[in-house]
C-alpha cells in the first residue's frame, strides 16, 4: 500500500468536489455579483455597490461592529465563568452528576436555545413572573427589555449559556493534559498563595492553550444565525441575519449588499482563523521541542 492509495485520492477528490469547490464557486459568485459582473443587475464592472457601506444610514458596518461586540462580550463572559467553574468545581466537572449535566446545554440547538431564552427573559417570561411574585413589578411592560434589545443582551445570554459548559469541559481536559495540579503544587512549595497560584499559573496556562479554540469560537459567534433571528432587533442586526435579510429581499438592489456582507464576513473569519492557525502551529512546535 503506497502512502497515498487510490481510495484516499477518491476520498480527497470527493472532499474537493463536495466541500471546497462549491464554497469557492459560491464565494467567487458573491465577489462577482458585488462588482457587477454577475446576476440580473449585471451591467459590467463597477465599484458602485462597494461604496454603499460608506453611505449614511447603511447598516453593514454597524452590523459588523454589533456582531463583533456581541461576540467579544459573550466570549469574555463565557471564559470568565468557565475559568471560575474550573477553579472551584473542577472535580465535579470531571466526573459525577455535574459532568453529565454539563452536556445538557451542549445538546441545545440554536432554535431551541433561542426559544428557551425568549420564554425566560421576555416581558411575560419566567424572570418577569418571578419579579411579579416578589412584588417588583405589576405588569409585563415594566420588565426591562433583555430580549429583542438594542445591546444584544438576550443573544449574549444565549451564547454564554452554551459556551460556559463547552469551555468548562475544555479547561478541565487541559488541566489534566497540562499537568496544572502539579504546577500548582510546585508554586505552593515556593510560597505562592491560592490566588497567586490561580492567577499566575492556572489561568494564563489555560488561556494560552485554549487560545485557538477561543478564536474559532469567536468566529462561530460572529456568524451565529438562529439565536439573533429570534432574540435580535431590526437594527442593528447580527451579520448573518443582515446577510440573509438582504439576500432574501424581493428588491434586487439589496442583493449586492448581501454579498458584500458575505465577503467582508469571510475576510474577517479568515483573519481570525489564520491567527488561531498560527498559534496552533506555534503550540505544536513548543510541544515537540
Amino acid at each position: 500500500m503506497s502512502s497515498k492509495s487510490n481510495l484516499d485520492r477518491a476520498g480527497f477528490l470527493l472532499f474537493l468536489l463536495l466541500a471546497i469547490l462549491p464554497m469557492a464557486a459560491g464565494l467567487l459568485y458573491a465577489a462577482s455579483y458585488s462588482v457587477g459582473l454577475a446576476g440580473l443587475l449585471s451591467e459590467g464592472f463597477t465599484w458602485e455597490y462597494w461604496g454603499r457601506p460608506f453611505q449614511e444610514g447603511n447598516q453593514i458596518f454597524a452590523s459588523f461592529a454589533f456582531s463583533l461586540g456581541v461576540a467579544l462580550a459573550a466570549t469574555a463572559i463565557t471564559l470568565l465563568v468557565a475559568l471560575l467553574l474550573v477553579l472551584t468545581v473542577r472535580r465535579s466537572l470531571d466526573s459525577g452528576l455535574l459532568a453529565h449535566l454539563s452536556t445538557i446545554p451542549l445538546a441545545l440547538p440554536g432554535t431551541v436555545l433561542a426559544f428557551v431564552i425568549l420564554q425566560w427573559c421576555s416581558g411575560s417570561g419566567i424572570a418577569a413572573r418571578a419579579a411579579y411574585a416578589l412584588g417588583l413589578l405589576q405588569t409585563p411592560a415594566q420588565f426591562p427589555g433583555i430580549v429583542n434589545d438594542q445591546y444584544g443582551v438576550g443573544i449574549i445570554i444565549a451564547q454564554v449559556m452554551v459556551g460556559v459548559p463547552f469551555f468548562a469541559l475544555l479547561f478541565t481536559q487541559l488541566w489534566h493534559s497540562q499537568r496544572i495540579s502539579q504546577l500548582m503544587e510546585l508554586a505552593q512549595t515556593i510560597g505562592a498563595t491560592r490566588a497567586q497560584r490561580a492567577m499566575r499559573v492556572a489561568v494564563p496556562l489555560l488561556l494560552h492553550r485554549a487560545f485557538p479554540t477561543v478564536m474559532l469560537h469567536l468566529v462561530a459567534v460572529i456568524g451565529v444565525y438562529e439565536v439573533p433571528l429570534l432574540l435580535g432587533v431590526q437594527s442593528p442586526q447580527m451579520i448573518s441575519v443582515l446577510t440573509m435579510r438582504n439576500y432574501a429581499m424581493f428588491d434586487l438592489q439589496q442583493k449586492p449588499e448581501a454579498f458584500i456582507c458575505a465577503i467582508l464576513y469571510t475576510l474577517l473569519s479568515l483573519l481570525l482563523i489564520a491567527i488561531a492557525w498560527r498559534r496552533m502551529h506555534r503550540m505544536d512546535h513548543e510541544q515537540s521541542a
Binding site: A10, F12, F15, S92, T111, S124, E226, M244
Partner: protein, 260 residues
Amino acid sequence: MSNQHRIFQNALVAAVGMLFAAPMLYLLLLSFAEGWTFPHLFPPRVSAGLWETMWGREQGLVGGLLLSILLSVVVAVGSTSVGFLAARYVSYHRWRRGLLFLSYIPFVMSPVVLGACIHVVFIRLGLVGTVAGVVIAQLMFALGFAVIFFVSFWNAERKSLEEAARMLGATTPQTYSRVLLPISRQPLLLCFLQTFLFSWFQYGLTLIIGGGKITTLPVLVYLYTGEANIYYAAGASILLMLPPLVMLWGNRAMAVRFGR
C-alpha cells in the same frame, strides 16, 4: 478542606447543575403545562394532552422527525467515510498545512452566510428545495470537520502499522479491512456522532437550500415559535434534544475510553 468550604462547594455544584439542567426541565414542564401564562410562575394545570395529540394531529412532526433522522444519518455516514479517506490523503501530502487550513473554512464559518453564496450554484444544479440539495450543502460543512478530526488520527504510528502490514504482503483492501478499520472504530463512531449532531442542529442552511420545502425538526421548532404555539414548540424541542443528549453522554463515555 474545611467543613464550611465543603458546604460552599456542594451548594455551588448544586446551583451550577440546576442551571445546566434548567432548559431541559423547563421544556419538559412546558410540554405538560396548560394555560401557563403571566403571572403564573408555575403551571396552573398539567396534563399529558400535548403528548397524546402531537403525534396524531400534527403529521408534520412525525414527518419532520423521520426526515431529520434520515438527513443526519446520510450526512454523518457520508462525511465520516469521505473525511476518513480524505484526511489520510491530506495527512501525508506535502501541502498538508495548506489543505488543512482549507478544511477549517467550512468547519468554522457561518453556514447561513456561505449558504447565501452557494444558493445560486445549487439553483443552477436544480438542487434547491430537494433533500439531496440539503444533504450536499450540509456535507460541505460536515466534511470540513471530519477531515480536521481524522488528520491527527493519521500519524506516524498508523503509518508504521500500514508499512508493517505491507511488508507482510497485505494488499490495500486487506490493510484497510484487517489493520486500519479495526483500530479506527472508536474515532469513526465519534466522528459519526459529531457530524450527525451538526446536521441534526441545522436550521439556517436547511431553510436556504431547502427553500422552505424541507421541514426538519429545527424548522418545525422555529415555525411553532413563530406561531406562538409554545407548547408544541416545547414538545418538538424535547424531541430535538433527546438524541443529542443520548449521543453526547455516549460520546463523553467513549472519549474518556478513547483518551485512555
